[in-house]
């Protein structure tokens, strides 16, 4: 019986604790990704809390905390969508790999920016560094409604090649604004 044996046990404990944490997160992620509740179900849940017993088990947030949290998040989201003009209509993700420091998820995202719609698929790799998390996009695929336009398709393919999602959104935003502005101007002249 010596320190050597102690150390072996302690190492195993640490490795088991890490594995458990990872498995729990994997389970949670998978649950989240494969579940879907409609807006009505969500509305009903918000209402049903009104009558529910306040004394929930400890360690859980109170129903009013949850409702308040959800409202605050939805307000933020609504503001961002209005401000940037970018609206996400559908988002699904699937965790492809999860280890201690690396998470890889496949995302499928559709939405529109003003009147221009897009569909995206990409893989997002997140690496936990000492201080922060770094994110890298790979396998980017973009489908745009106005894809027949030559300029748009050139832009889309060069953005896809470089995995440059940020530039895609920035350019989409300014192009959509210009497009919208032009459309309004034409409308204006038509009315006249």
């Amino acid at each position: 019986m010596d320190n050597g044996t102690c150390q072996v046990y302690e190492d195993e404990i640490q490795s088991l604790e890490e594995e458990i944490k990872l498995l729990a997160e994997k389970y949670e992620d998978s649950q989240q990704e494969s579940t879907f509740f409609s807006e009505e179900e969500i509305l009903m849940s918000k209402k049903s809390f009104q009558g529910e017993f306040q004394g929930e088990s400890k360690g859980h947030e109170s129903p009013s905390d949850l409702k308040a949290q959800l409202e605050s998040l939805e307000t933020d989201l609504s503001f961002l969508m209005k401000f940037t003009g970018i609206r996400f209509t559908h988002h699904s993700k699937k965790t492809v790999e999860k280890t201690k420091n690396r998470t890889v998820r496949k995302h499928r995202l559709s939405g529109n920016c003003h009147s221009l719609s897009f569909q995206l698929e990409f893989q997002l790799l997140e690496i936990q560094n000492k201080e922060d998390v770094s994110a890298v996009i790979t396998d980017l695929s973009i489908i745009m409604e106005s894809g027949e336009d030559l300029d748009v398709s050139k832009f889309v393919s060069s953005t896809e090649e470089r995995g440059d999602l940020l530039t895609f959104f920035r350019s989409l935003s300014s192009y959509a604004e210009w497009y919208e502005h032009r459309r309004c101007t034409f409308q204006h002249f038509k009315v006249r």
């Binding site: 458990i20 498995l23 509740f37 959800l70």
Partner: protein, 276 residues
């Protein structure tokens, strides 16, 4: 004699007792650790089984048919909260995200070079009495005040857009220089000199061909702060260098003007390899 002998026996007994106690403590500690290991192993195995079952179900394979009980209102709300959080995180990928505050809004500006997301900066704005910057983490060498003066009051989207262009370009230039130092350090001679804005780079590098090395020195000026490609490139070699070298310098100069720094290096490194 007798007392000394008694003392010795006492001391021996005492030491034996101490050792015995140590041994017992050690055994107890070990037993506790063993128990903990068993407990964790069990927990881990249960989780593994849970995850496997979940995966089987999702693939439509066998596994027990367990109709999940009607989800509680709490579960539904918790799901929705996670879902909205995930959508908010997506905005991070677009370059502009943030949250509303009591007195205004705190924007988070993200930057990226091609597919790699780099630094993010925050900008805390107050809405009243007029739009103003409360706090921020924008580096001091970015002309924030200038940009704010021009656009903040009249067109806040434009303000953010211009700021984003500056920040992304800065981060892009810095990334290129970092990549160069990381991947081509063997070709760079001495230190790569750069300013904090990373819009002026000066360094010496060497290209080898047919077991000879040819030194070049280069000065890159990025005159457009919203651009991550240089506006002025000067590549020079030794004055007595052969014409082939001068031609190479001109070719390199073109490359630096047209493409990212580390990509330009990659391109003439592989060109050299193929020549040999």
């Amino acid at each position: 004699g007798v007392f000394a002998h008694l003392e010795m026996l006492e001391s021996r007994a005492y030491q034996a007792a101490v050792k015995q106690e140590e041994r017992e403590q050690q055994e107890e500690k070990l037993a506790k650790l063993q128990a903990r290991v068993q407990e964790l192993r069990l927990q881990r195995d249960e989780l593994r089984a849970k995850v496997d079952l979940q995966q089987k179900r999702q693939l439509g394979k066998g596994g027990a048919v367990s109709d999940p009980a009607q989800p509680s209102a709490r579960a539904v709300l918790e799901w929705k909260i996670k879902s909205v959080k995930a959508t908010l995180q997506l905005f991070y990928l677009t370059g502009i995200s943030g949250k509303l505050t009591k007195r205004g809004v705190c924007f988070c500006i993200s930057t990226a070079y091609e597919g790699t997301y780099l630094d993010s900066y925050y900008l805390d704005l107050l809405a009243k009495p007029e739009v103003q910057i409360h706090r921020h983490s924008i580096p001091i060498f970015i002309p924030l005040e200038q940009i704010a003066k021009k656009y903040l009051q009249t067109d806040i989207r434009r303000f953010l857009s211009v700021l984003l262009d500056h920040l992304n370009a800065y981060v892009g230039r810095r990334y290129q220089a970092d990549q160069l130092q990381e991947h081509f350090s063997d070709q760079i001679e001495g230190t790569l000199q750069r300013n904090s804005l990373c819009n002026l780079l000066v360094f010496n590098y060497a290209v080898s061909s047919k077991s000879k090395t040819f030194p070049f020195s280069v000065r890159l000026l990025y005159g457009d702060l919203c651009c991550s490609l240089p506006t002025e490139v000067v590549v020079s070699c030794a004055p007595d260098a052969p014409t082939a070298l001068a031609e190479a310098a001109a070719a390199h100069s073109e490359l630096f003007r047209l493409m990212a720094l580390h990509k330009a290096f990659r391109s003439f490194s592989s060109a050299e390899e193929s020549v040999d």
